[in-house]
Amino acid sequence: MNANAQKEALVETPKKNISVKVLGVGGAGINVMELMLKSGLPGIGFAAVETDAQSLAASSASEKVHLETQLLRGLGTGGDPDRGRALADEQLPKLKSLCEGTDVVFILAGLGGGAGTGMSPVLARAAKETGALALGFVTTPFGCEGGRRQRLAQAGLAELKSFADGVVCLPNQKVLTLIDENTSLLETFRIANNFLADGVRGVWRLLIHKGLIDIHFADLAALIRDRHAESSFAVAEAMGPTRSREVMDKLLAHPMLDGGHVLGESEAVLLSLIGGPDLTMAEVNRVMEQVNRQCEHAQVIMGAAIDEAFSERLAVTLIAARKNPEPPSEEPASAAGAEELAQQLLPCSTTARPGSRFVPPAPPLASDQVQQLLARQSRGGARQRKSQARSRQTQLPLEIVSKGRFDKSEPTIHKGEDLDVPTYIRRGVALN
């Protein structure tokens, strides 16, 4: 299927000829796809891949692939990703024919169950084998769904990453931090799905519009492919005269970007601005300035495009790729070992030995030595003692003054002096 450039107005930048297909895998994936279908994205082919015949029937995708075997008898995978994988492997030719002739394949799935988790990696493989770019947009389960689903989701994510060119993952748990307590379950899922749909739409726009400052398809591929780690995306839109500032505020407030932290940690950032014909250079500048400030260490790729439909509006899509913050469990042991060794060999200047508090017993001092010492102490010690407010008795380094009766009680500190210490000692009066 080819992408049709519907509006060929002269004001607009011409759309590129890229064929895009969106595949929704599994129940969750199909739900997200439904959202996108409703919003209407011209020129994209939608296909649904499922084991459950009923949900397939309910979907309004143009293409439907029902993966079915004798084994399953129409009952679905039962939450077992292995079954889903086996099924997909079996039906690989069918899947490949789906992806035939497309340039970009978006794989939408919700990880944690059977169909999405098991089948999406295989789908990615199929897409690759037909020469398309496979991009996965997936969600991971809520925390309350249990540990097993999380583990399955993580495993599926890792597998998908190994096959696809890039994976954008939205943890559903993050959505929880955004919503009000009283939001209904349906509403929550809808919000989560919306995030994902927005992301797909943003990336699609990036690809479709030939920008004034162009982002090549290859840039996107390179960005996502090389990093092979978590990428975050955010889409924000604003209207009105202060739209550049508003859109940046919204972008930074996006849950995926975690308040700008993600940007700071990213290694590469791809930014796409789409505005109407009235988009000014100043606005573009302002947006870029903010982004550059947030991610000083990253490689920033920027693209801008004009779409007549976007007059008065400004939409920014941001994809940030960074190294995975959580080390996956299959970290090569040798790498960790090498690091440890390096640390041991390097001279540790930070581990200074703590000052010893060993106070040696009082050696016999001649009385004039004692007097000198005390005179010195009473002059300079007062200032030091002030800063140690409620500390223990640490006056004379050589002679321990035991407080006798007041040993265990709270010291009476007056203007930095501990009044429990005998006056004659503090004043340095010698007794001969």
Binding site: R405, E410, L419, D420, Y424
Partner: protein, 407 residues
């Protein structure tokens, strides 16, 4: 049903002794000391309770002795409190006179006192006393009773004594643990000054220094009202400790030496002399240099007075003391302590004597019971105030009662 006279008990839980004094308030207002009980205090350090069970035991002992001497049963006490955490400061409250004819009424006085009492204290502090000082009407100072005067603005100075609530509660709980009610808590210094000072001395301006075992409390009176109070957590214990450390003797021996041979000033006669300490068999065990002893004591006492002087200077209270300084507490027993205080404070110093109370001569003469006697006096003032208030309500009750009986 009620006796013509009532029993007021003052209890002081001090660092060196626990002392309970029983006073008898006659109907005409005369106060008579009828009983005294004391016991050595083991669980108190620097004026505050450090070992509650021991302190309870000592208090029980003192109360029992007082009960036996006075032949009454003690139900409630006025408790004296002290400690390094107590602070006193002056606060001013302002209140505009609202009535149309600008006459100051009783309510205005109450309001302005309430304003003066609202202060910002740290959360764990509790106000022990809020003592009314002088009123100011339109800036004119020195008004004692403004009711009936004309003015647009009335102000009052209040002296507030506050302390850490938890530490105060410790003392109260110890007393309550003995099935005794605490009628009120009183600052020890205030109690001592009530016992020692006559009205004339309060008018002229005087300073009372109570040198106790764990703390030294001081109170300044000027123009008949309290101007400043303070507590220094240094007392006779510190002197003993200094001696124990300096002369290298155990603490109990040091206390003995302090009582028998101690003095505040070092005089020529003492130089070169030494004291032999003998053990229970009478054999000499150790010799101690008298000069050292005197010097150590003198330094410590001098420092105490210097610190009191500094505290007063900061509060700007040194200029008003025309009647001089009065010493009380166990520390007043030290020979020549008044002379030392005179040297340090540059003011006439004398030993305080309790007055306007009759009763046990032995108790009244000793400076260390000044606080407990002062507590009884405080209690008597409270009783009289309460009696006056209840007399009012009694009068109303009886009138109403009569009305209903007739019907």
């Amino acid at each position: 049903m009620f006796n013509a006279s009532s029993i007021i008990v003052g209890l002081e839980i001090g660092t060196s002794k626990v002392c309970a004094v029983v006073g008898d308030l006659a109907a005409d207002g005369a106060l008579n000391i009828v009983g005294l009980g004391q016991s050595r205090s083991r669980g108190v350090r620097k004026g505050e309770i450090a070992d509650a069970p021991l302190a309870e035991e000592d208090v029980r002992h003192a109360i029992v002795e007082a009960e036996q001497m006075a032949d009454v049963e003690i139900r409630s006490v006025y408790l004296g409190v002290t400690g390094g955490h107590l602070r006193g400061f002056n606060n001013r409250g302002v209140h505009p006179v609202v009535s149309a004819d600008r006459e100051i009424s009783e309510e205005d006085v109450q309001d302005v006192i309430k304003n003066a009492k609202t202060i910002n204290l740290p959360a764990q502090n509790h106000v022990i006393h809020a003592i009314r000082q002088h009123f100011l009407v339109d800036g004119q100072d020195g008004i004692t009773n403004p009711v009936g005067m004309l003015g647009s603005r009335i102000e009052v100075d209040v002296h507030v004594v506050h302390g850490n609530l938890n530490r105060l509660q410790n003392a109260i709980r110890t007393v309550k643990g003995l099935q005794l009610e605490v009628d009120d808590i009183v600052f020890n210094g205030l109690a001592s000054s009530l016992a020692l000072l006559t009205n004339e001395q309060k008018e002229l301006g005087s300073l009372v220094i109570d040198i106790g075992g764990g703390t030294t409390d001081y109170v300044v009176y000027a123009n008949g009202i309290i101007k400043h109070t303070g507590v220094l957590a240094v007392g006779g214990d510190h002197v003993s400790n200094d001696l124990a450390y300096g002369l290298k003797v155990p603490l109990s021996r040091a206390e003995q030496l302090k009582i028998q041979h101690g003095a505040s000033l070092l005089d020529e006669a003492a130089k070169g002399q030494s004291i032999t300490i003998s053990n229970e068999l009478g054999l000499p065990v150790k010799t101690v240099n008298l000069e050292h002893l005197r010097r150590i004591m003198s330094l410590r006492l001098e420092e105490i007075f210097q610190l009191v002087g500094q505290g007063l200077e900061q509060a700007d209270a040194l200029d008003y003391l025309r009647a001089g300084v009065f010493l009380c507490g166990g520390g007043a027993h030290i020979p020549q302590v008044a002379k030392l205080a005179e040297q340090v404070l540059q003011m006439p110093v004398s030993l305080g004597k309790t007055n306007s109370i009759s009763g046990l001569k032995s108790a009244l003469d000793q400076p260390e019971f000044a606080t407990a006697i002062g507590l009884v006096k405080f209690g008597s003032f409270q009783q009289r105030k309460r009696a006056a208030k209840s007399a009012l309500t009694d009068g109303i009750k009886s009138t109403l009662g009569q009305l209903f009986r007739r019907v």
